[in-house]
């Protein structure tokens, strides 16, 4: 397990931030995951994941303008860093290699 380990949920959050391309902040990310993947996301789980990803240097963030909707609180927009992009690619590579290594019969069996 390399130091560039990504948890399953972390990966999803990171990918979603990438999808939202700089327009991702807390609620937006949460909504996007919930819509796209049809799974419930708690504010706590997401917030921990964001904090951890930022700590690992895969995400960077900047504060936006305060809005009345948010009780005068500013939004924090997230963006994937270079390191974040690398780690996502790594994960994808690893997956790809694994997929390619699966014998044809096994997949056939799975889809049968």
């Amino acid at each position: 397990m390399s130091r560039r380990y990504l948890g399953e949920f972390e990966e999803i959050v990171l990918l979603t931030v990438a999808v939202l391309d700089g327009k991702g902040y807390g609620i937006a990310i949460k909504d996007d995951i919930e819509q796209r993947l049809a799974r419930k996301v708690s504010v706590g789980a997401m917030r921990t994941a964001l904090k951890r990803l930022e700590g690992k240097g895969y995400l960077k963030s900047e504060l936006g303008e305060p809005t009345a909707k948010r009780g005068g609180k500013r939004k924090r927009f997230f963006q994937v860093t270079h390191a974040g992009r690398e780690v996502l690619e790594q994960v994808m590579d690893a997956r790809k290699r694994l997929w390619q290594a699966i014998p044809y019969t096994s997949i056939d069996f799975k889809f049968a």
Partner: protein, 866 residues
Amino acid sequence: MKEDNDIRPPSLPLRFLRWFCDPAVLEDVEGDLLELYHRRSEHDVKQARRKLTTDVLLLFRPGIIRKFQLPDNSFFMFRNYLTVALRSARRYRGHTALNLLSLIIGIASCMVILLWIQDEMSVDQFHEKKDRIYKVWRNMHQSSGEILTTQGIPQPVVVSLRNDFPEVEDATLIGWDMETIFRMGDEVDYEIGKYASPEFFRIFSYSFLAGNPGTALSDLSSIVISDRIAEKYFGRDWRDDEKILGKTINVGSNQKDFQVSGVFEHPGSKSSLEFDWIINAQEYIQQNDWVESWYNGGFAICFTLRENATLQPLQDKILQLINENTNYEADERLFVNHFDDNYLHSNFENGRPSGGRIQYVRILFVIAIFILVIACINFMNLATARSSRRTREIGVRKVLGAQKAALRQQFFVESFIMSITAVVAALLVVAAVLPYFNSISEKELSLNLGDPKLWIGLGVVTLISGLLSGFYPAMLLPSFRTITSLKGHSKQTVGGVRMREGLVVFQFILSILLITATLVVNQQMNYILSKNLGLNKDNVIFTRLDDDLRTQMEVYKSTLQTSPAVESVTATSGNPLSYGRSSGSAQWAGKDPDEEVEINVMSVDEDFVNTMGIELLLGRNFDPQLATDTSNYLINQVAADIMAFEDPIDQDLTLWGQTGKIVGVIKDFHMSSMYEPIAPLIIRNDPSSTFVAFIRTKGDIQQALEAIENAHKELSPGYPFSYEFLDQDFAAAYRTEMTLSKIVRIFAFISILICCLGLFGLSSFSAEQRLKEIGVRKVYGASVVRIITLLSWGYTKLILVALVLAIPLSFYLLRQWLNNFEFRIELGASAFISAIVITLLIGAITVGLKFWQAAITNPVQTLREE
């Protein structure tokens, strides 16, 4: 406040979030939550509120929670607090000692009492099946409306329990304590034991050292003995000898041989049943077939219920069991209760349990609480009074930047050091005094350091006393203004003084309650022991009449009469001062045959009335010259009232099928405890069924004892000789009360002592504070007495208030207690006056001592300070 249309987000969860959340993410997180809230509240406000709360709670997780940091100098600060605490404790040495002493005494007393209570509660708790063991009781409904409750149950009930009640696992008969003669070679002695069914040892868990508890009593000629008896009759080394089982021992007046089939460990005081031998009850029943009747109650009955069975159906079925089998001739109903309840709840009134030893347990528990409260109040009062000396120190600390929280910590650290020290010292004190307390209370208490309850208790006491004493100074002092503290002004707040005064009053109320209780309990005990019982119990020796003596009664009596130290001799069927053999079968003219009256029946010879000093009210005594007198009767006043003859003399009375005349009425004498009224009594003139000889002595008691022993040796060399004094035996019946009153007296004294320690501490403190005032007064010519009265008045006032409040309260409580006694003292003023005098005297001495010291100080010394 929270209305449904309130669309504002709930503030409590948000405040919580702001408190714990890492400031780096707080703004963002809160914004998210609010945005979500607004979106959700468009649908359902209530749900949005709920969800916000759950979201906040879910955010309470590592990663989001900010780092809480202790200031990194906490260890050094703690060390500093310790140093300062020790310095100030040393500086006011007397004060510290006083403070600790009262807390140590208080905690130690409390612990001793709780150990005593724990021991009382543990009696009969060692039986493995205790939750399923029940005891059967019989309520005899008298025509007078009174209900007599007895444990003597007709023997057929046990047969019915075994056959007709499938929910009963085992049932046993348990005989009354019997003193029977044991013979083994040269060793001859009386031993106390019981007859019981073979199931006895299956129901109760007495531990066996030899033999099998399940089968030990199956044979009629088997006997199970205690280790004490085994050692006495089979030698110290009976354990080494495997063959004690099957050995024979000769038991009883008919000298039958029994085989030892088991040896059990004597249960000691942890069991309410105490016995040294058990023989199969069938052995007794075979020789006494009267037992097998539904109309007689001899044995007690205990049984175990099967696991998971319920008691109620049995309760319902057993209620009328006797009545159904006796055609409702007398109304006698059965009920059952938990066997292990009986030790503490042994008294019955009108067919319901009405206390017993549990009352003593409660009284002592209250005393334990009193003492602990008094001690804690002292601790608190002295600590708060003292803390005002520390204002300068607090001022300096504040100037150096100490925060209020830190100052509070400091005071709590100090008070906990004190309370921990006190608890540890109290533990040592308890270990040291337990042997003495055991000899007073006749118990075998010990400190079990492995008991978690002990440590929990000590922890709680430490915590309570630490918090109590630390609370006031910790809350109040740090909030004084820094400038005033630095100047050293320690102006006591009115509230603080009021609180202290209130607590002192409260302490004294508790102490006065204990003083009056001690006095009244003592008076009642003396009253009982010296009360005219209706017969003269002094100078009477009694001794058992064994079989050899009973066959030679006349010779025995005349031999004794030759001694100049013997005044007269009588033989009776039992000790008249604790007599309980009764019958419901007496008949007389005018008695409704259905009416049930339980009357005591005593068999005596014609010397009974004279020897015991009983007053004859009507008629005459039994006359040895009249042969017909052997079928005649004497009755007591209570019986005469029940029979309600205009003139009872020469009326017919039938008892056990024998009709005779009432020849005389004697004055009532007490036949049982003072808790109960005097029972009716019929006295039969039947020397053949007497078992105890009562010998009234005159002059030299030693000489009388020698004469009695010689007569015994001469006429009955095969039986051991023993004797007792009637008055001592009577006093022993009140042993529980005597022991209890002794214990109460000790702890009442302790509570007063602690109270005085507290008062002494407070008065010395206020004397110290007013030294200058005293000096000035002296300069202006005030006398020492004048100054002492002036200073003492503040405290005298408190004691007076306490007296006014406590006296009516104790009057009420003590009247309740005295109502337990059928024969009791009138609650007079004397006890209360003594209590008032004692309290005022003690208070005055305590306070006056310190003030006198202050008042005689030369004013030059106190005034020159500035």
